[in-house]
């Protein structure tokens, strides 16, 4: 993309000021035995797990790690600015394959990891690349080049209140019809209690709407064209809008997962559809409903059941890093079986097969959650958003249709809105040379 010298010079000049601070701390390291790695992480439970373990790694290897972490919406711009300037000092970073994967591999910012993984001197066989599920490996591979190592996995589930379902003689919903019926039955706005919550905030809603879309038979992109204006997709928009407008809490169009989680944890809603990983916040000491939580497989729709199961986060080495060998040691350690087990015991869901058969883990993990993982695996869709370079803008365009559907309870002219949105996404696909 920015290949010519002149462009590089210009880009560098423009971002030089932003990076003046970064450059001040950029002390070149050449001796292998005295390496300090700069690790840029996301505010994610995985970071909370490995942060206290970093001294262990430092003791084992003699490599020092300087870790910093950012909220995910700030992380991508931060990485982009650093990598664009060609003056990055980052050695290892957390990255979202579905969100940034295309953009970063297009700009050749990921160091291809194939030669590290396939080299027995660098990577012992027992580290177990084959322990990662196929779909997870696919998610981090672009045109044969492995850009990152998967760490966590997540899938969409229904969190529900077991106690209330028992009282109302309801079973966990198996179909979207049952989901709506249960939401209607438990909804009690006069008592400030609502049937269901799910994300309604413009861009954030798209990923949690995706399983609804697939189960109605819709999809985001097909053969290089955006198809969110298909009749099936329109039905999904209408259903989602009606469900949240009629049985959801007020203000749902401003809710991403933190707001929805807060409502569910404070005992104000009966059901919540979102990513499995968010169970941690429902089980902690602040939650009023920790002992009453059920987790169910995402309900089937008219077109069967294809909820998403994805790799939301992975670990990568920037092509610009000057400590790649040490960085690979760190990635290997952070994505090892041992760390995966520790993280899994801390309540995360990890992207390694071995943790799901480990007896100690199975004894401790929320039994419903483990079951949904098993059930979702074979039927899953491996993405929860349109796979494209301009994914952020596409999410805003599609998210706006979701917001309008919720505001009007699915009664707006969703067909034309979806058509306009599909056209907007098509333009972005064409711009990136990904359209047909």
């Amino acid at each position: 993309m920015l290949r010519t010298k002149q462009n590089r010079w210009r880009t560098g000049l423009g971002l030089a000021m932003l990076l003046a601070v970064a450059l001040l701390v950029n002390l070149p390291v050449s001796q292998a035995e005295n390496v300090t790695l700069r690790f840029v992480a996301a505010n994610h439970p995985f970071y909370d797990v490995i942060k206290p373990l970093l001294p262990e790694f430092e003791k084992q290897t003699g490599i020092k790690v300087r870790a910093e972490n950012y909220e995910e919406n700030q992380l991508t711009p931060k990485l982009t600015v650093e990598f664009t300037s060609n003056a990055s000092t980052i050695d290892v970073f957390m990255t979202r394959p579905l969100q940034e994967g295309k953009l970063f591999s297009r700009n050749k910012w990921y160091e291809p990891l194939n030669r590290y993984i396939n080299d027995r001197k660098k990577t012992p066989a027992r580290w177990g690349w084959s322990d990662f599920p196929k779909s997870a490996v696919q998610a981090v591979t672009h045109q044969g080049s492995i850009g990152a190592v998967p760490i966590v996995t997540e899938w969409q589930v229904v969190f529900y209140r077991k106690d209330l379902f028992q009282q109302a003689k309801l079973k966990a919903p198996k179909t979207l019809e049952e989901l709506e019926a249960a939401a209607a039955k438990l909804n009690n706005p006069a008592g400030e209690f609502y049937g269901i919550v799910s994300r309604g905030q413009r861009g954030a809603a798209v990923t949690q709407f995706s399983s609804y879309l697939y189960n109605f038979g819709g999809d985001f992109i097909k053969d290089g064209k955006c198809v969110i204006d298909s009749p099936e997709a329109v039905k999904a928009f209408k259903y989602y809008g009606k469900l949240l407008k009629n049985y959801g809490p007020p203000g749902v169009t401003n809710m991403s997962w933190p707001q929805a989680q807060a409502l569910f944890a404070s005992g104000k809603v009966a059901m919540w559809t979102d990513a499995s990983v968010l169970i941690a916040g429902l089980l902690d000491e602040k939650s009023k409903v920790a002992d009453k939580i059920g987790v169910a497989l995402f309900p089937a729709g008219p077109a069967g059941n294809h909820p998403f199961m994805i790799v939301p986060w992975s670990l990568a080495i920037p092509a610009q890093s000057r400590n790649k060998e040490a960085a690979w040691k760190f990635v290997q350690w952070a994505a090892s079986k041992e760390i995966a087990k520790k993280a899994q015991l801390a309540g995360l869901t990890m992207a390694r097969n071995s943790v799901w058969t480990d007896k100690e883990v199975l004894a401790k993990i929320q039994p419903d959650l483990a079951l949904t993982a098993k059930q979702t695996g074979p039927i899953a869709t491996p993405y929860d958003r349109p796979l494209m370079t301009a994914v952020v803008e596409a999410r805003d365009i599609i998210g706006d249709v979701i917001v309008k559907a919720i505001e009007t309870g699915g009664n707006a002219d969703i067909e034309s809105l979806a058509k306009a949105a599909a056209k907007g996404v098509d333009a972005l696909l064409d711009k990136a040379g990904e359209g047909k």
Binding site: T76, L103, R202, P249, V392, K404
Partner: protein, 292 residues
């Protein structure tokens, strides 16, 4: 050797040099560079090299409904917030201009919102506004008024955000007006009392006209800031629900650090720059015309 002589001969250049360098690096260069980028098709999405495209970004911007939406919301927010801040700010200043016990304590309390961190303010107000578990609706219910959706409906989101801005910045207007009040001449007041004017008449016909230049300066300063408000909106709604609170600055942020379309983002920032500059010029002209 002859360095001292050289310095002495060129003192008038050498002394301002650090300040001038700083201003050129930190103010002039970024503005010019932004303008330059706005004339290119630089983004991270399309393949191919960056090239000069003239006014294409501006033409595309003028076809973009989100741009007009952002302009409208920017002015709506600014007029609402600055308008009410001015009214309340002047009233509070007039009250504080008399002597009473505990005056300094009141002044201190007034200053608190000014020094609070915008992000923290945004987060607290977001919780306060939450329709189901927030304090705002709880308070309304105690008064027997049905709860509002606050940040979560298109109709109330901008007024709710403006309320936060009003809470935070009204004291600043008060402080500037208080300073102005301290410097007013006493003669007109003595004349008015001799002529038997009532207190309200004194305020209307003497104080406010004399204060006009001060108030206009306060309004100018606040407007410049309000037009560019970013922090509280970004923290509280990120431009939502939908695009109902996407002001120009939030839109430019989306374009640059969300979509990585630096050319288009720079064009919208140049537009914002022009709007702020235009408003400044108008307000300062108004002030000039008031001065005799």
């Amino acid at each position: 050797m002859n360095i001292n002589r050289f310095v002495e001969r060129n003192l008038r250049w050498i002394f301002p040099l650090p300040a001038a360098t700083f201003i050129i690096l930190m103010l002039v260069f970024p503005v010019l560079y932004t303008f330059y980028v706005s004339l290119t098709n630089w983004d991270m999405i399309s393949s191919g090299a960056v090239s000069f495209v003239g006014l294409d970004n501006y033409l595309a911007m003028l076809k973009e409904p989100r741009f007009y939406n952002a302009i409208g919301l920017t002015f709506y927010f600014t007029l609402l917030a600055v308008g009410l801040e001015t009214v309340f700010g002047v009233i509070i200043a007039l009250i504080l201009n008399r002597e009473f016990r505990g005056k300094n304590l009141v002044k201190f309390i007034l200053l608190l919102p000014l020094v609070a961190t915008p992000v923290a303010i945004g987060l607290s107000w977001t919780l306060f506004y939450e329709p189901t578990i927030g304090l705002a609706n709880y308070a309304l219910k105690l008064l027997g008024i049905p709860g509002l959706k606050w940040l979560a409906s298109n109709a109330t989101v901008i007024p709710s955000l403006a309320l936060v801005d009003i809470w935070q910045w009204t004291p600043m207007i008060s402080l500037i007006v208080l300073a102005g009040l301290a410097g007013l001449p006493q003669d007109p007041y003595e004349a008015a009392i001799v002529d038997g004017a009532r207190p309200l008449q004194v305020v209307r016909h003497i104080t406010l006209p004399l204060l006009r230049p001060t108030i206009l300066i306060a309004v100018a300063l606040r407007s410049i800031d309000a037009l560019k408000t970013f922090d509280i909106i970004y923290v509280m709604t990120s431009g939502g629900p939908g695009f109902a609170s996407e002001t120009l600055n939030i839109y430019a942020y989306s374009l640059s650090f969300g979509y990585f379309r630096f050319g288009a983002a720079s064009a919208s920032l140049v537009a914002l720059f022009a709007i702020v500059l235009g408003c400044c010029v108008i307000l300062l002209k108004m002030r000039k015309s008031q001065e005799l």
